[in-house]
């Protein structure tokens, strides 16, 4: 049996191998996805994001268990940072999810960011497709621990769950632009800690200031490690899904995201074209040297590279 058939038959090794191949930009994997793309579309994608140590992995574990109780098949993509210096990574999210490993209807994959700075890796888009075709009902994507502006998850997820913890900053943090704006559901984890109510209040007050819409992100206090309020959180996630589906906003959101995906695929290829061109005959190196010696400015150097690409195409 080939990879394609094995994936459709539910073979986890085939699923895992395809994700590896996509991570390594393997052409064969891309052609398999092209062929099987018609099988995708069933899965609902939930992004789980938040600061390092906020409890995303533990919460993902608990959410997965709750969805499994409801008979759903779950794929989990857990992203951790890749070293910009060595390309190595420690992928440690599974430590919090060991109970899930032997469940035949759960598939967990750890991924390094491999140079992406938006909180997920480039291959995450492909991995979601593999898990979708594989037959998962829900796909959780756990981002790297984020700071303020790693918001790529919103380009891939149907629902973004923002995991907050008490006492990470004053109320100014709550009104800053960026990460706080992408949440569809807020979870305040470690709600047994002092300050949880205050954090909830600050988020609610910030939401009060937003333009009135027909959907307002709910703020749910949970404790992942104590397994408290997880059911309520799942309900809120499902309410968001229902809202998107009833108002046709799910299609809108997916269309917007698909446009971004197509553009970013094109961008990626374009960038690698530029990289390849600029590395030919030490061009980039020579240009940098000229710029340093003030024989040239960086804008002119850029024009030189671009002209090579334009020439090749013309």
């Amino acid at each position: 049996m080939n990879l394609k058939e094995r994936l459709l038959k539910g073979d986890k090794r085939a699923c895992a191998r395809l994700i590896t191949m996509l991570e390594n930009n393997d052409e064969e994997a891309i052609s398999i996805i092209k062929e099987l793309y018609g099988y995708s579309g069933n899965a609902y994608v939930i992004g789980i994001t938040g600061a390092p140590g906020s409890g995303k992995s533990t919460l993902t574990d608990k959410l997965a268990k709750e969805f499994r109780k409801r008979g759903k098949k779950i794929g989990i993509l857990a992203i951790d940072p890749t070293s910009p210096f060595t390309g190595g990574a420690i992928l440690g999210d599974r430590i919090r999810m060991n109970d899930l490993t032997l469940d035949k209807d759960i598939f967990i994959r750890s991924m390094g960011t491999r140079g992406s700075l938006g909180g997920i890796s480039k291959a995450t888009w492909g991995a979601v497709k593999v898990l979708d075709i594989f037959g998962m009902d829900y796909i959780f994507i756990e981002t790297v621990g984020v700071g303020q502006s790693e918001v790529d998850i919103v380009k891939l997820a149907d629902t973004v769950l923002m995991v907050m913890v008490p006492n990470l900053g004053d109320d100014i943090q709550a009104i800053k632009a960026g990460i706080m704006e992408i949440a569809d559901v807020f979870a305040i984890n470690k709600c047994d800690l002092d300050g949880a109510d205050r954090t909830k209040l600050e988020i609610e007050m910030n939401l009060d200031l937003s333009e009135k819409k027909d959907y307002r992100p709910p703020v749910v206090k949970v404790s992942a490690s104590r397994n408290e309020n997880i059911e309520e959180l799942v309900e809120k996630i499902i309410e968001h899904r229902t809202y998107l589906e009833k108002t046709n906003k799910l299609q809108e959101r997916r269309k917007k995201n698909t446009k971004l995906e197509i553009l970013s695929l094109a961008e990626e290829e374009f960038i690698s074209m530029i990289m390849n061109k600029s590395l030919e005959e030490n061009l980039l190196d020579n240009l940098a040297e000229s710029v340093l010696l003030k024989e040239m400015d960086p804008y002119t150097a850029k024009d030189r590279i671009m002209s090579l690409i334009n020439n090749r195409r013309g």
Partner: protein, 131 residues
């Protein structure tokens, strides 16, 4: 090779000491590998499932409890039962010299005992992965 080598660092059995596993994990990370660490007290079944889902090139087992003669072969056999034949299985920890031939015969391809330099482990992995 341009793709990173993926390694599962796993602690089978009941001992609660993972300093060594963490040192290895960190060294492999610095050697440019993607290291999946699953934490303490893993069953052979969990390790094998994690190895499959993570599609690793290497399973690196660390053990200090003395149960290696039982646990290591069990993991190799489970991998074989699942049809996994392209993963390098290595082990390390407090393992007496006289146990090493038996473990190798059971399919653990190399055993690293205390005092091994992390460089040697890295070199060994780079030279022996199967794909």
């Amino acid at each position: 090779m341009d793709r990173p080598i993926r390694v599962l660092v796993a602690k089978p059995g009941l001992d609660g000491h993972d300093r060594g596993a963490k040192v290895i994990a960190r060294a492999l990370r610095d050697a440019g590998m993607e290291v999946i660490y699953t934490g303490l007290r893993q069953t052979p079944e969990q390790i094998v499932q994690a190895a499959i889902q993570e599609d690793v090139d290497v399973v690196a087992l660390s053990i200090l409890s003395g149960a290696h003669n039982h646990l290591f072969p069990r993991i190799v056999n489970l991998l074989r039962e699942e049809g996994v034949d392209d993963v390098l299985v290595i082990g390390g920890g407090v393992i007496p010299e006289e146990d090493i031939p038996g473990l190798k015969a059971a399919g653990v391809e190399e055993i690293f005992t205390p005092g091994t330099s992390t460089k040697d482990v890295i070199e060994y992995i780079k030279n022996n992965i199967k794909r």
